[in-house]
Amino acid sequence: MNLTALSHFSIPFLMGNSLNAWSEALVGFAPMGLPLGLVILAAIPLVFIAVYALTYGVYGERKISAFMQDRLGPMEVGKWGILQTLADILKLLQKEDIVTSSADKFLFVIGPGVLFVGSFLAYAVLPFSSAFIGANLNVGLFFAIGIVSIEVVGILAAGWGSNNKWSLYGSVRSVAQIVSYEIPAAIALLCGAMMAGTLDMQKINILQSGSWGFAHFFLFQSPIAWLPFLIYFIASLAEVNRAPFDIPEAESELVAGYFTEYSGMKFAFIFLAEYASMFMVSAIISIVFLGGWNSPLPNIGYFSLNDMTNGPVWGVFWIITKGFFFIFVQMWLRWTLPRLRVDQLMYLCWKVLTPFAFVSFVLTAIWEIYVR
């Protein structure tokens, strides 16, 4: 698998195109013995989350929902309302940071932090390009599945610490939901890991490269890969509390669920965490099933589209595009479907998704051992 040869887009000062070249160079960047490079390495996904949440996450979702609902969406602040999100952030910054007197202050304050850290930690193992990954763990996928569970602690802390009955309902629902849905989600991802034979995120990506573009993606490499793909997509909706599984924050039932009592920047943090998780699960599904940073375009005869559109910089483009596509689907579903009931949600998880995940697991194993 010669990745360096594929790159037509390398930028010389970015020091070569070999695997993880950018991130390794950053780790090595330590002037005066200070690990500055590591800090920058961690800051890059953070900046990405902030920018994406502001532009696509908030403004984009408002415009997309407006389009679906025959409205205009924000139109007042700036041309087509593009400055609306900045105005909202300014408003949130100015807001009084209220901690209700009956709240458990410690839990109330750390709740949003833990929540955000939980989803942000998973970015460490997301390969944004063939040349960039925060931490090239050999159990990257396992880490990504596991670390997200920390979010549950944050949600429980936020809901319990608020000392509000609606928040308590929301957090208890949320914990039950996330813990349950991790099982089908993890089994579905295991199918992908089985096809790759590794849990290393970069290797999973590399195994899906090839001159036929999308045909090398795991989704098209096995006749049953669509099943774990769908299962993971549905389960990931529940894991990030998006509709039709937005039961923890069901606004018509629980007001706002576990963040009812939050205001100001703490509220913004909870939102940022939600958007971070949204991209995280979308990136994972595109890495495991849709080739991650690989170009989906095939080489057709004279036009070697695949060669032209691969490389570290193209990789960033592809993975973000794929991630954004899944976020768009998440938004699309949110603005179309009603919400399931708590027991129906659990039914779907334990009696539909989990058995099917097991079935797809066994079928994938058979396919991998005997056919491929």
Partner: protein
Amino acid sequence: MQELDIAGLGSVRVTRKSDNVVVLEKDLATEQMLLAMGPQHPSTHGVLKLECLTDGEVITEAEPYLGYLHRCFEKYCENIDYPAIVPYTDRMDYLSGMNSEFAYAIAVEKLLDVEIPRRVEFIRVIVAELNRIASHLVAIGTYGIDLGAFTPFLFCFRDREHILSLLEWASGARMLYNYIWIGGLSQDIPADFNKRVKEFVDYFKPQVVELYKLLTENEIFVKRTKGIGIMPADVAINYGWSGPMLRGSGVKWDIRRNDPYSVYPELDFIVPVPDGRFSDVGDCLSRHLVRALEIDESLKIIEQCIDKMPGSQGFNPKAAIPKRIRPKAGEVYGRAENPRGELGFYIQSDGKSTKPLRCKARSSCFVNLSAMKDLSKGQLLPDLVAIIGSIDIVLGEVDR
């Protein structure tokens, strides 16, 4: 069987199976939590407060508390002239002001015994049915929100907007019309009104189908509403339910048919009653279906009214309005089919005054809401929201 309360274990059930075998069973029922739902809550449709006793997600008891929007309608009526009451009826059920005015006008006209011009009757029916569609659109849209679907709500409000502009064109107001006066109308409809209404009907018919596809036939929506909050027909009648609520329970009762008023007997429309094919009769889905199907019937009525309406030559909408309304002594009960059920006005006159001695409004929402306690027992919290939504209350009419 013996119940013990062991500290730290909660309630423990001790069952003696035989002499030697004792089964200790920890009771699953936990401490109940008192949950105040409302008056500020997104899905109580206004300022309704439900005090719920909850066991986990299960509601063991829900008690509605009313009166947050009480405006002394009945006391006011004793102090103002008959025509001046009309604007107050708008403010009862603010989503269907025309229908409320219509009911009040029917009651007073019964007391006065006046002859209403035919054109007035047709105009009244058109605006009332338009308003019924608008009201059902709000009911269906907000019901979607209650169940988590936001988009149908905005689609409903987009189409409702057209109706509101039509009614604004006719009456000058968007919601609180003061258009149907005792014995007539405040003014004739504008010249092209019928044409525009016809245009709206043609535009709206495909939108109804779209709404069916988006909401009514949605798998999750059906799952959330089918079999939830079932009200048997006999209990519904005992509670005094009316309108879509009663029809949802399978009782074919529509005042437009059963106690006809105005020109309804001449018009061809059916009273939709669920037959149990798509829903369990009496559940939330049946009530929703009745509202959805009634929109179609209202469209039919409007089309017929436009065709049958007499021309405007020599028409004076105020011709039959008495100069000074002073009914002879007596009492009357006039009622009409509102979007939410039977709205009735009981009016007592002493024969001397221009003000009613007593004017009582029989509110459909109030009566429908009274079954809340029965309906909510043992339901899940999300189902409680679905049930409140299916009752389709307007707190302005509940509290008056």
